[in-house]
Symmetry: C2
Subunit: 385 residues, 2 copies
DNA sequence: TCTCTTTAGTCCATAATCTGTACATAATCC
DNA sequence: GGATTATGTACAGATTATGGACTAAAGAGA
């Protein structure tokens, strides 16, 4: 364990920059006076910090704001979307994606490259991704944006910055480095989709995001932060045991949730979710039954998840989002019935507020979270002023 | 959400006090020079901080220490057990317990008050506890110890400082305040037992502590900190679903782990664990079978827990500790077989290194953790020096 | 035994940063 | 238009850390 370092004058200022930027980020534009009130710092200090933030383009002054009824109006200081931006990336089974998001969490650019990545060669795919990055950043720079960091979402487990295993890609222990020449992070698709939901969807700060894809992942967000477990492998909802002696799962276990509610179990021979939805809408018996069974299994697995993880609410995303009308009943029936009187009310079950690009957006958002938390470091303010 | 406050000079010093004290705590006695090296602060600053810590009795200077081969030896600064102490408390089904632990985590005092607390009157029990506290603190003060905080372990769920529900005590929504006139915390028995294991047992920093009592709780420790979930209700391992349509559980659900591996299921008519152990040792058929079944169920539930929580290892405590020789086989069989190839190796399954007083000790230890993390506040250093 | 070298810890002037009071500015109220 | 109220800046003062000089204490070598 690394000893934590002492605090010096410059880290005090770095921290205060983060506090001020964080307050602006959390509760909209504020005048300097309001920021002083919020942070407990003096107006003088806030002024000085804000002027540093203005200089690097992290915030802008927008028009005058009347605080109370009388007195001089202040000038509102708000996050600036004009200069600082981050890059979100995603490798998925059938596409590569990139997006650029500015500091206000406005999506400035999206790129999708359809491709069959199932059982592919990592080197090849990473080269395509590198090209995509080059294109995207070039375009962002032309729009006057300075990209200060990137994050990558992958459909697999990540440990210490290395992609440990992505079964559907057929990858194992791939070190994804030198993708960009910037601060860089890599994380699981479900974790980043959860963060996408947090920042680009419902904006709730406490929930379990359930990502229905070929595999079933989950990202737990507590107080606006993802819980990752000891090795970064937490949230593998797909392999929670539903039936102890059920059918074998590809993971080596038996009766895992994935066997009952994974994409393959739900779709069967169907080519895509849209076709399943069509059948459900037309009242197809087998489709309805498949959904009911999946929903039941999901309810059982989520009961265990609620007892262990204690999420604020449950958000169904991925392919579960379009299927929500048919899943909601069986799932919440299972949950409500099983949770019993252990807790006040069971967590609410809701559908994800954003679509398939949750993970890329979450990746870009993760970097923004880091900038807000440590502006000095990422914006190069350490020796400015 | 409360805005985080700005950092001022006094908080900088408070932080540095914590950094220095933390370094001494984490890696044994150090000279001032070594502390400067470790923390990145200058020798001057460290000297000044250490002198403050000496003044309040948090640390002591012990003899000379030769650093390299030559040069003046330094004086080692180590945690002092002579003045500062904390109070751990526990309400359990059949006893009240208290302990006093000094800053070096030496146990200085223990008190146990046997009592039948099952379906009891909270007011009455709390009065007994208050008396116990008075006695214990008086004795500690006679030994020259200054008690600076207390924490209480309860066999139930705690939300926002209130005991929400303790089914075996028959308590609901009990506000435990004014127990002591000190900084005070209250937490679940399993969480605190986990912390007890961390500080007084194996000293590993990442594990899931499984507390087998009448109910089955679990406390997840990641990086030396308990994971509590959104409402502080995480870790309810006892109600993880083992058999979706199994027998009804008192919680209202069906097929929960507790039904198969709770104390009542294991002991049956037997009065205590010791009698079960005796039967197991003599090869009693029914006892062995009960253990095998409980172990199997535990293996299933832990498989789900590992996938969701990603613990570093699994520690069996409570009544599972004496039963470990008979549980280990079935549990790890279930775990190893089910976890499959999702992760490198399954987490190690070990027995708790401490006994029934894990929770009280953990409670006292929790306060010590807080002192180490914020010495200025708890030791009254804010305006000293 | 004396001196040199090395390391520990303290002293003091300096630097960085925040605080607090004073003040200029800008709006509303009467 | 003057009083009142609030915003934002300027400047002196307070707090805390830094850095180099200095004292202290040990071993190494002559």
């Amino acid at each position: 364990m690394v000893a934590s370092r002492g605090v010096r004058h410059d880290s005090m200022r770095a921290r205060n920059l983060a506090v001020v930027l964080g307050a602006i980020h959390r509760s909209g534009p504020h005048t300097r006076a309001a920021l002083a009130e919020l942070t407990g710092l003096t107006k003088t200090t806030v002024s000085s910090l804000v002027s540093d933030l203005l200089e690097v383009g992290a915030v802008t002054e927008s028009g005058a704001v009347r605080g109370g009824e009388r007195g001089r109006p202040g000038t509102a200081v708000s996050l600036s979307g004009h200069r600082v931006a981050t890059l979100g990336l995603e490798i998925n089974i059938d596409y590569l994606a990139a997006c650029v998001v500015d500091l206000t969490r406005e999506v400035r650019l999206r790129r999708i490259l359809r491709a069959g990545n199932r059982n592919s060669d990592p080197a090849e795919i990473l080269q395509s991704l590198r090209d995509l990055v080059k294109e995207t950043t070039a375009e962002a720079e032309q729009a006057g944006l300075r990209i200060i960091g990137a994050a990558l979402a992958v459909p697999g487990t990540v440990e210490g910055g290395v992609l440990r295993s992505a079964p559907h890609l057929g990858w194992r222990d791939v070190r994804v480095a030198d993708l960009v020449d910037l601060p860089f992070a890599i994380d699981n698709e479900a974790n980043l989709a959860a963060l996408g939901e947090l920042w680009f969807g419902s904006r709730e700060t406490d929930f379990l995001y359930v990502s229905g894809e070929i595999g079933i992942g989950a990202g737990l967000v507590v107080g606006g932060t993802v819980f990752r477990g000891t090795f970064g492998l937490a949230g593998e909802l797909g392999h929670v045991v539903v039936v102890p002696d059920g059918p074998a799962c590809r993971c080596g276990g038996r009766g895992c949730l994935e066997v009952y509610a994974g994409q393959d179990a739900l779709l069967g021979e169907l080519p895509a979710v849209t076709s399943l939805v069509a059948r459900l809408e037309s009242g197809d018996r087998r489709a309805l039954e498949a959904c009911r069974r999946a929903g039941h299994a999901l309810g059982v697995a989520l009961t265990s998840a609620v007892h262990l993880l204690d999420p604020g609410r449950i958000v169904l995303g991925g392919i579960y989002a379009p299927l929500f009308p048919w899943l909601e009943g069986p799932v919440s029936e299972g949950l409500d019935g099983r949770l019993g009187h252990m807790r006040g009310t069971p967590p609410a079950l809701v559908v994800s507020a954003i679509g398939a690009d949750a993970a890329v957006l979450g990746a870009a958002g993760l970097v923004i979270q880091q900038v807000i938390a440590e502006p000095a470091q990422l914006l190069g303010l350490q020796d400015a002023g």
